[in-house]
Symmetry: C2
Subunit: 543 residues, 2 copies
């Protein structure tokens, strides 16, 4: 029944920008941002955002322009999540762990006209500055780290705080006309060689932010420490979700367990997020307290948390909310919703249930696990299939890549590439997190991308890269290489070659020179290599 | 920036129906509904909803058909909130306190083809059954109260449980094509004589339900007792919001403080809602416990809670969430968001701050207080203006009443008719809850409607009705009557006359025969009558 069309009186656009304008009034005098000794109230936070937005417009930002930020979890990075879209721009928050060439590719592909770069990261930009003709405006952040002059130059343009002063501190109207306009592009390495630009919409970001708020129980009394990089899916949308709750953002230039424990104690932290590797680093640090009071909620995703870490967090009185998602789903999309009855189970049984990826958020649509014909696999906890999603928390598509979008969206569903089973209780559990993706220290590494790099070495005939166990990072890339006839190279040379092309975390830590196992049709059997490496160990990836 | 149109892969319709289909799986074995000794799990709740929806379709329900329910807060009423729209219908939940003629008007105006009526309320329908030719299907509920045969007959058709058995217990797809289709029509008396049908959309109900969930902190551990009638704005959207959280609905045929206290104790109730008059009835009852453990959250709206009741609820360890809204805003629209700093204030200062209506929900758009030229009044806490709203939590319009809709939506904003001030901290505070509306026991009574009724008495020349203090109900209607020359009548006769036309709670409790105070242009000065009645008392309405 659709009597009349809805009047504009009864319809407003869903955008997370409204969370800030609302709380700039509601929590005017409450602390919104903590960074070292600095404190910004919600009113000051909003004013800085208005300054940024109007300064960008004054500098010539046009609606839809991409604005890149290369910065750690410091206040300007948080401000960018509101100021850039409020100016009508699209935020491109770049992974600070990438190599110069990778960053250059992202800036080129997104066509960014503006870049705001932290002084600490300026050396990543200088060598590629000349390759970025579209980049008209560079702003640098002189924060704890000051910009050093360099013979390469390349960082013309104002300092961030000076740039803000060219704007106006008064509220700007939200300029979008459609809630499905793009708010940000997040580049992911995925499983193919080149990074792809995942487009988030205002509507999707709004709904996902409220979803995160609900699933992790954020309120105006929440204090959230930024252990999770904001360049990961806009901080899993907590940049917006925490602001919606009226809670306090505790910014952090660099993850350091000692500093995080101090902040948890001194700032009364109630919430943080991170991959299980972050939790492991925290609980194994000597500054770890005997117990957390009051209890802290920890959102984790990126890899299934082990029963060990769940048990350790439990001892600390922390509540772990285990979530799962991809950049293409605005970050977390499912949650392992706790059942009241689990409380009575033995710790190991409970941990096994909690290590599953669970069910769609209340604000998302249900996830499915399907076979190659898009039929649901039986809910038997055994039959494997691919996780597919649909709905408001699926990206709009890959920026300027209709082919990749069509592939990912085939049959009308987003194909995660992740292999899972469906349990009888409707909870999914991953069996393979993307066939070939290596997760090292919470970062996704595409084995194909590393292979393509190594393939460029003149001595290499064939190469296969898989994740192998690594004590600190969970896993790390290992390359199996066959040399061309008559040619030769060394482990050191290949690793050095990769370091010239890729972020260090993507580079293999070991090279083995060997013949590669193949199928009868000549396809390299990576699973054979993986199985050998993981023999006798509890392997994250069992596919 | 709007590259491509959003694919259906990345957009799904916002509808509260998804909360139930999601939790039918996620909380399959968890108790969803408690009613006396009866217990339904989420799976059973959903199955009953699927039965209802498919039974309605099988009985001939067409998309957009209105389905009226006249029932107390029992499971079928809750099931209707999902089953009717899932079948493609529009729910009309009728106020059970109305008189036969008023109910007949609502059924006629909405053109309801289906009516489900509780046996206890059957006598309201029998006398008017013949006036309802559009009403093709009547279903009756034989619950605690069984249907009595009557010489008037008029209740052909199946019993509810039998009717359910004509359906199928399997999930039905959501049949709407646009999230702005109508999910329900809620009739309000407003300030004019005839009830108006306020149209709620799926999108609006979805967003308001999540708003209620967030503002009152509902989780899967919540247990909510239905003290608030579901026929009031679909239970302020808690029918949908609590279901979204996975919490437990405790149904209740009749509000009785002793029963509510028992349920709070025996069922572990964590949340309930009600007008301040409901809270007063509870705290003044002998069964009141010394303290509530664990703390209970109480949503209140409909009138500002007095410092006395706020203090009493605080003593009980209850958290009061004070909200404000109208039927036209899906129920509560603003919340008196608590500031952390208020905790340190003396109880009376804190109560005065908490008695304000506050700020828009996080999921709504900000409210304004404007003068007659739609200019914001100064934020001085003194200058009065009208509260106006806009956005997803404003009704789509009045059903089949474009003229009333246009009036309410003039200047592009919904005009609440409520008079308020804006405080310097951005919180609104009502000064007059609708110029002439009388709020008695949490029910709105239109003084105009009562006047129009009394005007129909042959002896009456002029009449003015205002709210006067009433110990139990907060206020009650009093009529000031001038008789026609040579005619005469009595207080008893007028009251009896009204009782034949109106719900009893709308009928005046006192009649005073007097000349009416008027302006020089002959307009009756109701404020003069009100001021005299409220002299020396702390008056709710100061306008």
């Amino acid at each position: 029944m659709s009597q009349n069309n809805a009047s504009p009186v009864s319809r407003s656009l869903l955008t997370p920008l409204k969370f800030l304008t609302r709380n700039a009034v509601t929590y005017e005098k409450k602390i919104a941002v903590v960074y070292g000794e600095r404190r910004f109230t919600y009113s000051e936070f909003a004013q800085r955002v208005y300054l940024l937005a109007s300064a960008l417009k004054k500098a010539g930002l046009r609606s839809g322009d991409r604005v890149a930020f290369l910065a750690p979890n410091i206040p300007p990075m948080l401000e960018a999540h509101f100021g850039v879209p409020l100016a009508g721009g699209v935020l491109v928050a770049v992974n600070t762990r990438l190599a110069s060439k990778e960053i250059a590719y992202i800036l080129q592909h997104s066509g960014a006209r503006f870049l705001c770069v932290d002084a600490e990261l300026a050396d990543l930009i200088r060598p590629v500055r000349s390759e970025l003709p579209d980049l008209e405006h560079v702003i640098h952040i002189d924060d704890e780290v000051k910009l050093q002059s360099s013979p390469e130059g390349g960082l013309e343009g104002p300092e961030y705080e000076e740039f803000l002063q060219t704007g106006e501190p008064t509220e700007l109207p939200v300029s979008i006309e459609d809630e499905e306009e793009i708010i940000s592009i997040n580049y992911t390495s995925g499983t193919t060689g080149r990074p792809k630009g995942v487009m988030f919409t205002h509507r999707g970001a709004y709904l996902n932010a409220l979803g995160e708020l609900i699933e992790t129980g954020l309120t105006c009394e929440s204090v959230y420490v930024w252990t999770l990089p904001m360049f990961h899916c806009n901080g899993w949308c907590f940049t917006w979700g925490l602001t919606a709750s009226g809670g306090t953002h505790v910014c952090l230039r660099k993850f350091d367990p000692a500093v995080v424990w101090r902040l948890i104690r001194d700032e009364g932290v109630t919430h943080f997020c991170g991959a299980p590797v972050v939790l492991t680093a925290l609980v194994n640090h000597p500054d770890r307290p005997a117990t957390l009071m009051p209890s802290v909620t920890v959102g984790t995703a990126g890899a299934p948390p082990s029963p060990t870490i769940l048990g350790q967090m439990g001892e600390l009185n922390a509540k772990v909310v285990h979530m799962y998602g991809l950049t293409e789903t605005y970050g977390p999309h499912t949650v392992c919703a706790s059942q009241l009855t689990w409380k009575d189970l033995p710790a190991d049984e409970r941990a096994a249930l909690q290590a599953r990826q669970g069910v769609g958020f209340v604000a998302t649509d249900p996830v499915r696990v399907v076979d190659e014909n898009m039929q649901d696999v039986p809910s038997d906890g055994v039959t494997m299939g691919e996780v597919v999603m649909q709905g408001n928390n699926v990206m709009k598509g890959y920026y300027n890549d209709p082919k990749a979008t069509a592939t990912a969206f085939r049959s009308g569903w987003f194909h995660s590439g992740d292999i899972a089973v469906m349990h009888p209780d409707g909870y999914i559990e991953l069996r393979d997190r993307g066939k070939d993706v290596i997760i090292t220290g919470g970062e996704n590494v595409s084995s194909i991308e590393v292979e393509q790099t190594i393939y460029r070495h003149p001595a290499v005939l064939e190469v296969a890269v898989v994740g192998v166990p690594h004590e600190k990072w969970g896993e790390s890339p290992k390359a199996f290489v066959t040399c061309k006839e008559g040619a030769s190279t060394t482990e050191e040379e290949i690793i050095e070659f990769c370091r010239g092309e890729l972020a260090h975390f993507k580079c293999p830590t070991t090279i083995e020179f060997t013949a590669l196992p193949k199928t009868s049709t000549g396809k390299i059997q990576k699973f054979v290599l993986r199985e050998k490496e993981w023999a006798g160990r509890e392997k994250r990836i069992q596919g």
